[in-house]
């Protein structure tokens, strides 16, 4: 093949490369030069993750051919730091909490570098413009803009000075991310970046129709193509996959259930060869009837997506599929007497709401490298949220012993629930086996991320409300129909969790709730940040406003009258105590922040300009971790000879910052400065201790408890040895700043470093030994829900919160712009204030995407917006003008320092608050998400009767 010599100045060094003309700059930077700071997020120049500087200008590396760079200067993130000294921008990103998963960070910093190199004193608008071509799904952009602005403003004041490093006690303070350095320098290694020796590359052949039988699948041509090492079809892959419900095939086995699912896969020497072979596979489909929405799917005699549910295995006693129908799970909640409740009501209202399926959009798509080793062992490196669950489900599927399968998870570029459970790993394993055990890497393209990997389920909610004229809810009758798509392995639990939360944070004396998870011939659903709660609270919180307005009570007052308070019971019969949190205080804080006047009954719109109107809205939220009753986790702390400690866990920090929080906890508990704590980034089932899954906002809580226990175990061991040295009882020993001394006798201290590997007396006698502490935590006291009534204790804890928004509606275009968004939560105890704030900002902006932008668009079951060209997410230009965060701290008795989870919650109820504000601004009530400009505009137009 013709190669060109390309000479360029790369990060200041003259470099000559030999490249084939078709290669992109991105592929050469990564593949040949291992400058892996540049990331591929979409391959079509929409996401900016591959932004590098070409002759000083920011460009998408995926849209530049490497041959074009002959004679050019190219700067990547690897050239930004001065040896080990971070640049001002890099340091500011860490200081401002502008880094979460880190996948977008190098591209983002490169865009900022280009701006600061050409603009002496950029305005905030200039900064927003400069980074708006870089997608970030974690941070909500505001911390990024703040970081760049801080560097720009410091130029006239002697340059950027880093913010002070917080001192002990660390818990509660703004400890900076311990992974910040790796991420701002581009040295954090994601599975996307990884290459292992002898590795092959895989691609998938996707089904082009929604429901069909495969009548012909001809791989002969593909098998004979250059570089092809294995071609797989579902014919020989009989195993079923799934978390709660084993309903998925590894590759389609004769019956296609959604457009975009994989019907075949190829492993080849290069990605291009694998793709070419996939293109050469011939598939002939015989179309079958498709069910494309939940109404059709639940109609009598509807075509069945899974005719053989009864033959599947699932978690018995927890999930209740209905064979012979499309219902994968039916969760019932029955409390009080629903008929009596409606009889007591003065008014009864019925409303229906819908949510479309949407995607998580992690910046790093799903990817896995798997090697089926000789002798039956398996090595898996994967971008996943839960190494032990990948291991368990994988072994369950292939009937392998757990200790033969090693799962490693390095840095993960976002997950948001979409990387919980098991995904590409089994297919890649089968490919590896088929090639005689060579390692195989499969990276989902962005199109596959949309089309082949799971999404968030759609939902149709019907809510019937009985209410007295003074505003007390007497009855709620609710039906939730979840559009699970073609598989419900995880979706069944969304239907379950959203059911026990499904009436909102309110006292509902009489409740009848049916949550049905329904198969359709669409992309299948899974966990997505908030796990069903954004969806149900869209209906519930819109309903609260609709009912309040109809009975003439202020929506805030109506909520207050019905909020859960100590002594009251949830709809599953759980007693609300003073430890549960203070939802009312959250509501008060956000109402105050946006200037809500509770006497106004409804917020009056304010005309701000021709065609522009502003109004406010409120919404509440709650969520408990959704997980099996036996969920457990563990931590190990081991000491090194210099008295520093390493904390091992297997929960994953895929951007949310938990490892930093655990380091804070370990430092405080071990009485060590935080720079003596190391939390290794690679979780590895061979070396790090068990954790179920990193989902449900549970890791800081359960992992925090495990780390506390492990640290205390270490101190016990340290004291025990020290007591022999200091000749004092263990109870009289005090640990402080990495030393031990006898209470009141500061003169005689022993450093940890002299104890943690064992203590040697001057005469050579030695005692003790290496200090290794372990801690564990298991959810306690939870019960399965009663199958008939849903009564029981499903929740480890509840986090309550509220949002207040002020929006501006352009009535000419229908565009909603959020002027102000205030959020309050009761996380029990703020463990890291900077991370809590940035988690909220990021979640709010993600919720804004669900509120006003995001939806799957199908045409006869075919996803037509499977790329960033037409699936839009918020950019830096789309965030609220201002965001405020409040934290109420009502300690939870079982949480570490009283903490509860807060990772998912910020996203929930952002759509409902905006929907309520929209109604207040325009008088138009919308019931269907998203509230995109076109929908708002057309609703306003219809009302005018034009």
């Amino acid at each position: 093949m013709m190669k060109h010599l390309v000479t360029l100045t790369l990060n200041g060094q003259k470099t000559t490369l030999e490249v084939e003309p078709h290669r992109t700059l991105l592929s050469v930077l990564k593949g040949d030069l291992h400058l892996d700071g540049a990331k591929e997020g979409c391959g079509i120049g929409e996401c900016g993750a591959c932004t590098v500087l070409l002759n000083g200008e920011p460009v998408n590396g995926c849209l530049v051919f490497a041959v074009e760079c002959d004679g050019a200067t190219v700067d990547t993130i690897e050239g930004e730091a001065d040896d080990d000294t971070l640049s001002a921008l890099q340091q500011a990103f860490i200081d401002h909490g502008a880094v979460q998963c880190g996948f977008c960070t190098p591209g983002m910093i490169n865009s900022a570098r280009a701006l600061l190199a050409t603009n002496e004193s950029p305005t905030r608008e200039d900064i927003v413009e400069a980074v708006s071509g870089n997608y970030c799904r974690c941070t909500g952009y505001q911390p990024i803009i703040d970081a760049i602005e801080a560097v720009a403003r410091a130029r006239d004041h002697g340059g950027y000075k880093t913010t002070p490093v917080p001192a002990a006690p660390y818990v509660g303070g703004p400890t900076k991310r311990i992974d910040g350095y790796d991420k701002v320098t581009g040295s954090a290694s994601f599975v996307h970046d990884m290459v292992v020796p002898n590795m092959l590359h895989a691609r998938m052949k996707l089904a082009s129709v929604a429901s069909a039988r495969i009548v012909k699948l001809d791989v002969a041509k593909a098998e004979s193509m250059p570089g092809v090492r294995a071609v797989l079809t579902g014919a020989t892959l009989t195993q079923k996959l799934g978390l709660y419900m084993q309903d998925k095939d590894i590759l389609v086995r004769d019956r296609v259930r959604h457009q975009g699912e994989a019907v075949a896969a190829v492993a080849a020497d290069t990605v291009d060869q694998a793709k070419a072979a996939c293109d050469a596979i011939e598939v002939v489909y015989e179309p079958l009837p498709a069910v494309l929405d939940v109404q059709e799917a639940t109609a009598p005699n509807a075509p069945l997506v899974h005719p053989d549910i009864a033959g599947y295995s699932w978690m018995k006693g927890v999930f209740f599929p209905e064979p012979g129908t499309n219902i994968a799970h039916h969760q019932k909640i029955r409390k009080g007497d629903i008929e009596k409740g409606f009889a007591q009501a003065d008014r009864v209202f019925e409303h229906q709401f819908t949510n479309p399926p949407v995607q998580h959009v992690p910046m790093e798509t799903h990817t896995a490298i798997v090697r089926a080793k000789p002798g039956g062992a398996v090595d898996i490196i994967t971008s996943a949220q839960s190494p032990f669950t990948v291991q368990y489900l994988f072994c369950h599927t292939f009937q392998l012993p757990l200790n033969k399968v090693r799962v490693q998870v390095p840095y993960v570029g976002g997950g948001f629930g979409g990387k919980a459970g098991v995904h590409l790993e089994p297919l890649v394993y089968c490919l590896s086996k088929a090639t005689g055990g060579r390692p195989v890497k499969l990276v989902a393209t962005r199109e596959e991320e949309f089309n082949t990997l799971p999404s968030r389920q759609g939902l149709t909610s019907r809510i019937k409300t009985g209410v007295t004229k003074d505003g007390k809810i007497t009855a709620l009758e609710i039906t939730y129909l979840w559009d699970a798509g073609a598989y419900a392995d995880y979706g069944v639990n969304v239907g379950r969790a959203a059911a026990y939360s499904g009436a909102g944070p309110y006292v509902v004396p009489n409740c009848k709730l049916d949550s049905k998870v329904v198969y359709t011939n669409k992309i299948y659903g899974t966990a997505y940040r908030g796990f069903g709660h954004l969806e149900v609270l869209w209906g519930i919180e819109r309903n609260m406003d609709l009912v309040a307005r109809a009975i003439g009570i202020d929506p805030m007052e109506f909520r207050r009258k019905n909020l859960l308070r100590p002594g009251k019971q949830t709809i599953t019969g759980e007693l609300f105590t003073e430890h549960h949190g203070r939802p009312e205080e959250c509501l008060r804080l956000v109402a105050q922040a946006i200037g809500w006047d509770p006497k106004s009954r409804v917020d009056r719109p304010v005309k701000v300009a021709s065609g522009k109107v502003r109004a406010k809205g409120l919404a509440m939220l709650h969520k408990a971790p959704a997980m099996p009753v036996f969920t457990s986790c563990s931590a190990v702390i081991k000491f090194s000879g210099d008295g520093s400690a390493t904390v091992l866990v297997s929960g994953i920090d895929y951007g949310q910052g938990t490892y930093t929080t655990l380091a804070q906890i370990a430092a405080d508990e071990l009485k060590l400065p935080i720079d003596k704590i190391h939390v290794p980034w690679d979780s590895d089932t061979d070396y790090t201790p068990y954790d179920w899954q990193t989902v449900a906002s549970r890791f800081a809580v359960m992992g925090g408890n495990a780390v506390i226990q492990a640290a205390r175990d270490c101190l016990d061991q340290i004291r025990k040895t020290a007591s022999q040295v200091l000749h004092a009882p263990v109870e009289q020993l005090v640990c402080e700043s990495g030393t031990v001394y006898v209470k009141g006798k500061l003169g005689q201290t022993l450093a940890y470093k002299d104890l943690v590997l064992g203590y040697s007396f001057p005469n050579g006698n030695s005692i003790g030994g290496p200090v290794i502490g372990h801690g564990r935590y298991i959810a306690q006291g939870l019960t399965h829900l009663d199958p008939a009534t849903g009564q029981g204790l499903p929740a480890l804890n509840w986090t309550y919160g509220a949002h207040g928004v002020e929006i501006e509606v352009d009535t000419d275009t229908g565009e909603i712009h959020v002027v102000k968004l205030a959020s309050a939560f009761d996380p029990g105890k703020v463990l890291n204030i900077q991370q809590c704030r940035t988690q909220v900002i990021g979640g709010v902006v993600q919720g804004l995407g669900s509120a006003v932008l995001e939806k799957f668009v199908f045409d006869k079951g075919r996803l037509v917006n499977n790329s960033f060209s037409d699936y839009k997410i918020p950019t830096a230009k789309d965030i609220p003008d201002s965001m405020e965060q409040f934290f109420v701290e009502t300690p939870h008795p079982q949480g570490p320092y009283g903490a509860r989870g807060i990772a998912e919650h910020p996203m929930i109820s952002v759509p409902s608050a905006i929907g309520n504000a929209l109604a207040n601004a325009t008088g138009v009530d919308l019931f269907e998400l998203p509230l995109d400009a076109e929908k708002v505009y057309l609703a306003l137009k219809r009302r005018k009767g034009v």
Binding site: M1, H22, N60, L63, E129, N134, D272, K872, A876, L938
Partner: protein, 290 residues
């Protein structure tokens, strides 16, 4: 595409001769922002990439002695909208170029590439059409000039023949009384393709207004001039209604993944209203209202 070759000619004639050898298998590489997508999606499998960015004529912006503006086909969007004279004289072109993609895209995407891609939602077309731009094309048979309105034939189709190269876009001199403006409706405030885009031109001396609207037909649609316009605005309301009526008879928007036809039609109307109002109330050709 695994056997692709790459050439970087430095003259137009070299480029044309490279393009003529195997026209069906050869593509022009300028900014590459559309080309790369076609290669990635498998709709194009070129054997030869002809990178035209080292041809001096194609990369410069020049004001010709007769007042014409010559923009090389490989001039980027950034170069266009960061040019203060273009911004002052031809706001619709400048604003259209600024509305393209993200900053990263605008550093690469070229005006020649934009018109050759001929997407119905392209953001430079409305301005170029209203300005009566000409397209200078070089081919095996020499050079020819096409008017921009003849250049576009259909969705992603132009009059450019195989082996031909767009060298330059030429904007005729216009009087200071001729003012233009551009705007765009999209789904996010960040980068997005136009659901609708539009440019309006007001000729204060002739008393005419013309409109060009994208994403409402196979190509960007330009209306006949509405006459008897009082640039001082005395008959603004009537003029606006006439402009809208003229526009609505010509556009034929469709329902697609980005928008319904109805929303497109209404937004086309809104853009025209806003732009006409802006031009008349501005009383000058510069400045920009949001």
């Amino acid at each position: 595409m695994t056997h692709t070759l790459y050439e970087r000619p430095t003259t137009v004639s070299q480029a044309v001769s490279l393009l003529s050898k195997a026209p069906d298998r050869t593509v022009v590489l300028a900014g590459g922002t559309d080309l790369m997508l076609k290669i990635r999606s498998g709709t194009l499998h070129p054997d030869l990439l002809v990178d035209v960015k080292s041809i001096p004529e194609l990369t410069r912006i020049q004001w010709l002695p007769d007042g014409e503006l010559a923009i090389g086909a490989a001039v980027t969007m950034c170069q266009i909208y960061r040019n203060p004279e273009i911004k002052e004289r031809y706001p619709a072109l400048s604003e259209g170029a600024e509305a393209v993609g993200s900053l990263q895209i605008r550093h690469r995407a070229t005006v020649g590439g934009n018109i050759c891609n001929a997407s119905p939602c392209m953001d430079t077309a409305p301005g170029l059409l209203l300005l009566g731009a000409k397209v200078i094309v070089a081919g095996p048979g020499g050079q020819k000039t096409l008017s921009i309105s003849d250049f576009f034939v259909g969705v992603k189709k132009t009059r450019l023949a195989a082996g031909e190269l767009v060298c330059e876009i030429r904007i005729p001199a216009t009087s200071r009384a001729f003012s233009t403006a551009f705007d765009k409706i999209k789904r996010v405030r960040g980068h997005d393709l136009a659901l609708v885009n539009a440019a309006v031109a007001l000729d204060r001396i002739a008393g005419t207004i013309r409109v060009a609207v994208g994403s409402c037909g196979a190509t960007t649609i330009i209306t006949d001039p509405v006459t008897d316009v009082d640039p001082a605005g005395s008959n603004e309301e009537i003029v606006t209604e006439r402009v809208i009526r003229t526009l609505l008879t010509k556009i034929c928007p469709i329902d697609d993944v980005r928008s319904s036809a109805e929303y497109r039609r209404d937004m086309a109307e809104l853009l025209c209203r806003r732009l006409v109002k802006r031009l008349i109330s501005e009383g000058s050709c510069c400045g920009r209202i949001h």
